[in-house]
Amino acid sequence: MSTAHTGTHADEQLSSACPGEVVTYRDALFRTMRDALKQNPDVILFGQGVDDHKGIFGSTLGLAHEFGSDRVFDTPLAEEGMTGVAIGAALNGLYPIQTHIRADFVLLAMNQIVNLAAKYKYMFGGRLEVPMLIRMVVGRSWGQGAQHSQSLQSLFAHIPGLTVLMPASAQSILECYPYAIANQRGPVLAIEHRLMYDLKFRVDEVREKPNGSPLASHRVRVGKDVTIVATSIMVLEALRAAEHLARSAGIECEIIDLNCVSHIDAAMILESVKKTGKLLVADTSWKAYGVCAEVCRIVCEHSPASLKAPAVTLGMQPAPCPTAKSLEDMYYPNLRDLTDAIAKLVSGKGDHGIPLPDEHSMADVYKRFKGPF
């Protein structure tokens, strides 16, 4: 399963960030949006509220003023129509960036995304292309409830023709967004996580790019005892669990950030599982038919004998998201659940005796904001 990215040249520089600099997820988004508009006159940016005083949680703040309402503009509440407008603009030479403050609203645009944008290059024999970026934000905590919390990567990644990104760090945004805008000739969907917007990330040197593209999976921690494949904020949770287990039990986790869930680096996963013999997949969404299922499929198809224990998966409970905090804290896997699952998998025992972190609400740790969002 190789990546299908066709870019010929990747910007070697990170978009306006120096190695060692500390950048928030939000600021990385803002910088990439601003740079895109600045560097490429064909880029337009639109979405509901993109030019208002909140500016898509700060990621587009002031850009309408700086670049003009011709290029950065608010839209009617018409998700399907506006995605169609983006496709038409792309067909006539622009690079549209469309924003959605909640991923749930993108369901209204599924016809344009799935039936049209994803199909156009193939269906027309390569003669039409719709280069565009659709950003969407996954909500969590403060009672986001059933319709403001969905993480829909499996719906999109299922469809050939779509490239689906789930940045788990400021670095990923700074590497992937400019690359996608400059090089991807088809629709790219970026699923951002609201709880990460305020988090600070240290930006490293430009990372290695398998196949010349940063839209690839990354090994973010090297270890010998277990392979953890994770997406989005679950990468951070896996890193925290790994630190805890290294400290308290000497367990060394290897962690792979899928990053581009539509084009998984299967070789990286298989190589890692061959080494560790153990696989745990931690995704931000439901397990059935999703990233968890897909990663298990890859290992089962290509290297089932590598597994020395049954694979373990973590995701949301199989229900719509409840609003009450007491239920929500049970609905998502927390650090304690994740650490316990890893400890059980590595030790092979239910009562492994490894001390677990006393943390039952992940949102309390990440969340710096209080309602209404």
Binding site: G88, N92, Y120, Y122, M123, G125, R185
Partner: protein, 309 residues
């Protein structure tokens, strides 16, 4: 080819579309065209009348009933037959078939089988035309059924709000598959379009390519000069079944008398002298295009996974 008058030119273009589709009907039982065909027979005058005032740089977005627009906009006939045959020399290398013809080299920017789905594309293209391409006009061509879809309303609203140079061209043949307008719409199409503040024209004589040409040319000039949207509804009539090569008047959802009334106004039937004059040339061109399609190779394994991302 030169013509003595605009009438003769439009007649020729309309007749060419009809004869092409009649060839499709002839070929269909051979199973050489394994693609659902939505024939434009009866509606040719709309496409040729409208496209007459468009330049190759003007963009048109179409639906699955696209053969007439493909040819009227200047799409290549050989590439069309090869596409219907599923051959590699088709306009999309065999991956599109009848429902998704395109000819971007002359401004036909794709056709979609999902009703109304290319209307917002025309609006998006017009957003670019307004800001960058000061001569370009964009046309969204769709049927009456499309006006029931949400994307249609979203498109009219955005085009009117931003005053974009797009012409909405509604070919009203009164049918969505087999359902009559009265079973589907609580509104009159033209009144509803007007409620968005769009200038509108409704034309009952969709059989009359001269009249379509005259009115539509004024609309295109308006859009070209003023860079604003326009809405035009043209009544027309689909002679054949919704999809497929046949007729289905026996099914009872419409009467043959309706068909006869439209045929009684159909220049391609009435002007036998001109039809006889042009037919041999056109049939020769069609023979050549069909032979080209026959000779073209099939797409192969190398094409199966190309152009996905």
């Amino acid at each position: 080819m030169t013509f003595a008058s605009v009438y003769e030119e439009l007649f020729y273009k309309a007749l060419r579309i009809r004869l092409v589709e009649e060839r499709v009907i002839e070929l269909y039982p051979s199973d050489k065209i394994q693609s659902p065909v939505h024939l434009s027979i009866g509606q040719e005058a709309v496409a040729v009348g409208a496209c007459q005032s468009l330049k190759p740089t003007d963009l048109l977005f179409a639906s699955y009933r696209n053969h007439a627009f493909y040819l009227a906009k200047g799409g290549d006939l050989r590439a069309m037959f090869a596409e219907l045959y599923g051959k590699v020399m088709g306009c999309a290398g065999g991956k599109a078939g009848s429902m998704h013809l395109l000819a971007p080299e002359v401004g036909l920017m794709g056709s979609s089988a999902v009703v109304a789905s290319t209307i917002p594309h025309a609006v998006g293209a017009a957003l670019v035309a307004k800001r960058r391409k000061h001569e370009q006009v964009i046309v969204a061509a769709f049927g009456d059924g499309a006006t029931e879809e949400g994307a249609y309303h979203e498109s009219l609203n955005f085009a009117a709000l931003h005053k974009l140079p797009v012409v909405f061209l509604c070919e009203n043949n009164g049918l969505a598959v087999h359902s009559a307008l009265s079973a589907r719409q609580s509104y009159r199409i033209i009144d509803h379009a007007r409620s968005y503040g769009l200038p509108v024209t409704c034309m009952p004589d969709g059989h009359d390519f001269m009249k379509v040409c005259e009115i539509f040319s004024g609309i295109v000039d308006h859009a070209r000069q003023h860079r604003t949207p326009y809405f035009m509804e043209i009544q027309t009539y689909r002679y054949k079944e919704h999809v497929g090569p046949g007729e289905d008047y026996h099914a009872g959802y419409r009467s043959r008398a309706e068909l006869e009334a439209w045929k009684a106004k159909d220049q391609l039937i009435l002007n036998k002298e001109l039809a006889d004059r042009y037919r041999p040339t056109i049939l020769q061109e069609i023979d050549d295009a069909v032979a080209f399609a026959e000779a073209s190779p099939w797409p192969s394994r190398e094409h199966l996974l190309s152009d996905v991302v």
